[in-house]
Symmetry: C2
Subunit: 206 residues, 2 copies
C-alpha cells in the first residue's frame, strides 16, 4: 500500500528560465514517503494577487428570438502554440484588482460585443495540473437578448486580436463542435469539449 497523496508538500520553487509572459520553473517537492523530488512546470508571469487566478472563461448563454433552447457563445481564434484556429469559450486574463465577475463581463463585451450578467462562478480550476499552475474560473453569464445593446453586438478587439464570434445550440453542442471542426479545419479547447461531452452523456443516459 502506497502512502497518501495528502502527505506531500512543496519545498521550494526556483525560476529556471524566463520569458516575458511564461516562465519555466523547477520545483523541489517532497513526496508522501518523505523523499525529495523535482518537477518542472510552466507559469504565467501575469497572475494578479487579487484573485490568485490567471484567467476567467465565460459560459455565455442566450436565447435567440423564436428559438427554443439556449445557445452558447463561442469564439474562433488562431492560437500560435497550436498553429491552428481553436474553438473556445470566450476567456481572458484577470487584470490587477479585477474580480472574476468583472473580468467575465468585460471580456465577454470586448471579445463578442454581448452585454451579460454573471449568474455563477466556479471554484478555481487547473487546466493541465501536471504541466502548469495555470488556473481559471468558469463564469456562467446570462445574455438578455431583450437588452437593446445586444441587438447588434460589436466586439471591441485589441490590436493583435482576431476573434470570430458564433453560437451553437446547447442541445447538440457536441455534434455542433465536431461539425465545425470537420468543415473548417479547426480544433477544440479541451475544457469546452468536456462540457459538450457532459451534455451529450447526460442525453445518452435519459
Amino acid at each position: 500500500m502506497k502512502n497518501s497523496p495528502f502527505k506531500a508538500h512543496v519545498d521550494k520553487v526556483q525560476p529556471m528560465e524566463q520569458g516575458k509572459w511564461i516562465q519555466t520553473r523547477k520545483i523541489d517537492y517532497t513526496d508522501p514517503d518523505g523523499k525529495s523530488r523535482v518537477w518542472e512546470m510552466a507559469v504565467r508571469t501575469t497572475r494578479t494577487e487579487t484573485t490568485g487566478l490567471d484567467a476567467v472563461s465565460i459560459l455565455g448563454l442566450l436565447q435567440k428570438p423564436g428559438s427554443k433552447g439556449k445557445h452558447v457563445v463561442l469564439t474562433k481564434q488562431f492560437r500560435p502554440p497550436v498553429g491552428k484556429v481553436v474553438v473556445e469559450l470566450p476567456a481572458g486574463l484577470i487584470d490587477p484588482n479585477e474580480s472574476v465577475a468583472t473580468t467575465a463581463e468585460r471580456e465577454l463585451l470586448e471579445e463578442t460585443g454581448y452585454h451579460g450578467k454573471v449568474t455563477k462562478e466556479s471554484i478555481p480550476l487547473y487546466s493541465d495540473p501536471g504541466l502548469t499552475n495555470a488556473n481559471m474560473a468558469l463564469a456562467t453569464v446570462d445574455i438578455d437578448m431583450a437588452d437593446p445593446r445586444n441587438t447588434d453586438p460589436q466586439p471591441q478587439l485589441e490590436d493583435g486580436e482576431y476573434i470570430e464570434v458564433f453560437t451553437l445550440p446547447m442541445a447538440g453542442l457536441y455534434d455542433g463542435l465536431l461539425a465545425v471542426c470537420e468543415k473548417e479545419g479547426t480544433t477544440v479547447d479541451a475544457r469546452l469539449f468536456h462540457l459538450a461531452e457532459g451534455l451529450r452523456l447526460a442525453d445518452a443516459l435519459q
Copy 2:
C-alpha cells in the same frame, strides 16, 4: 471589421529555454493582417510522433453491483505545479508507438487496477491553447464489473506515483466533486469540472 483568424499561420518556432520535460519557446507568427508577431509557449519535450498527441485522459465508467447509474473512476494526486491534491480523470502520457486506445487501457490498469475496454476516442483537444501546445485525447472506457479481474483492482504504480482511486456517481458528479473539494481541501482539473458542469447543465435543462 477585423480580418479572419483563418489567415494567420506560424512562421518559425525557436527554442527559448530548456528543461528536461518542458521547454519554453518563442513563436514568430504572422497575424491575419500580415504583421509579424511573437508569442510565447510551453511545450512538453516528450511528445511521440506516433499520434501527435501528448496524453490520453480516461473516462472510465462502471456499474457497481446493485447500484442503478454508472460511476466515474477518478484519481487524487498531488500535483507539484499546483501544490495541492487535484481530483482528475486517470490520464497518462503516450509512449512511443502506442495508440490512444492502448495508452488508455494501460494507464487505467496502472493507475487504478481496473481492466477496461475503450469504446470511444475524442479528436485531439488542447488543454490551454493560449499557453501551450499540450494536447490530449479523451478515451471513454467501459469497465465490466463482472470481469473477475475487476473484483479487487490493484493499481501498479511506478516509483514516485502516489495516486488514490475513487469513484463518484455520474448523476450528481458536479455536487460530488464540490463535496470532495470542501471536505478534503482538494481542487479539480478544469477538464473534469467542465464534464461535470455539462452533466449538471443538461439536468437543469430537463
